[in-house]
Point group: C2
Chain length 211, copies 2
Amino acid sequence: MRMSELAAASEVPVATIKYYLRERLLPEGRRTSATQAVYTDDHLARLGVIRALLAAGVSIARARDVIAALDSPPSGPYDLLGVAHSAVAPEGRPVGDPTEARRLYERLGGAADECEPGLLAGLAQSLDTLKQAGFTVPPEVLETYVTAARRIAEAEIDGIPTGSPESAVEYVVLGTVLTEPLILALRRAAQQVVSAERFTGDDAGRSGAEA
Amino acid sequence: MRMSELAAASEVPVATIKYYLRERLLPEGRRTSATQAVYTDDHLARLGVIRALLAAGVSIARARDVIAALDSPPSGPYDLLGVAHSAVAPEGRPVGDPTEARRLYERLGGAADECEPGLLAGLAQSLDTLKQAGFTVPPEVLETYVTAARRIAEAEIDGIPTGSPESAVEYVVLGTVLTEPLILALRRAAQQVVSAERFTGDDAGRSGAEA
């Protein structure tokens, strides 16, 4: 199909497609003349992936890394996870003391010395944000986070498709990056559900404030 | 303390403090002359909260809402959650078909008709992102997300401090907003831990790719 048809099929404006081409997020089409090229269903599928990554808050530069991984798959699950994790890793200053982050990693069942520095930095940074605000996660809640993270990871890793390297790459890389908004949205919705169960028609016990 | 001392104690530059004052994130100090004001430990604590919110990716406008909630607490857990949820709600176009989002809400144990429109939109948007990318979460993994979200919410809601309205507000609003990076960081770390357990020294079973 021609670029105008690709734009119509994908609902992505021509100008945006040209931008993705310049940024090397989308591979060039096959040239049919000096000014024309044709595109395939692979381009259409790739546009869907690009839009989803950007919608999930991944930067252009990181989206390019993710897409490079889809095009030339790294060799093992570790490297795949590495690409996925670096796409979503927080950007920002490294944080000083990793002691508590190391402890959390051990509670997940890992050996802190073997933890990727970037992952440890991400954990440390998230803990530092809480500390800055003077906010302490109650121990039972933190324990629940650790257990839930471990269960989620088990289900995800066990679900890696074994059919082809391509499908494994797509599953690990996109599955890690793109499901973060879903997990957070589910947690917010669950908070409302549980809050309704606990408090419906009875806010009086809390503070005496008017309804 | 004077502004220079507040800057030293908080490690926030004077220019940044002035910006927070202009943006009404930080309340004015008590004026001692036309050009001078004094600040208290409350200002210092508030600076920690502001930095943590911005570090967690909350916008200035939404940080202002969160802080307004801390200053004049809404009356019940529902309203508290509302403030927290709107601070972290995705910005973007509303998504068409909420059918699957409604179904997920019901699986969490809620009645979809009673779900906040914003929460439902957030769920629908996160599902739409996956759909755009042509990515399907395997049913067992989705089931694990739902169960984990529900467990996390139960621990969180049960942990709401009952001592004072102020502590409840701080817990719900900051606990919801600021712990998102921690939950995601724990999940990434857990993926690495579980991946190491499953694949260490044995990538061969996957694809025959070289190590």
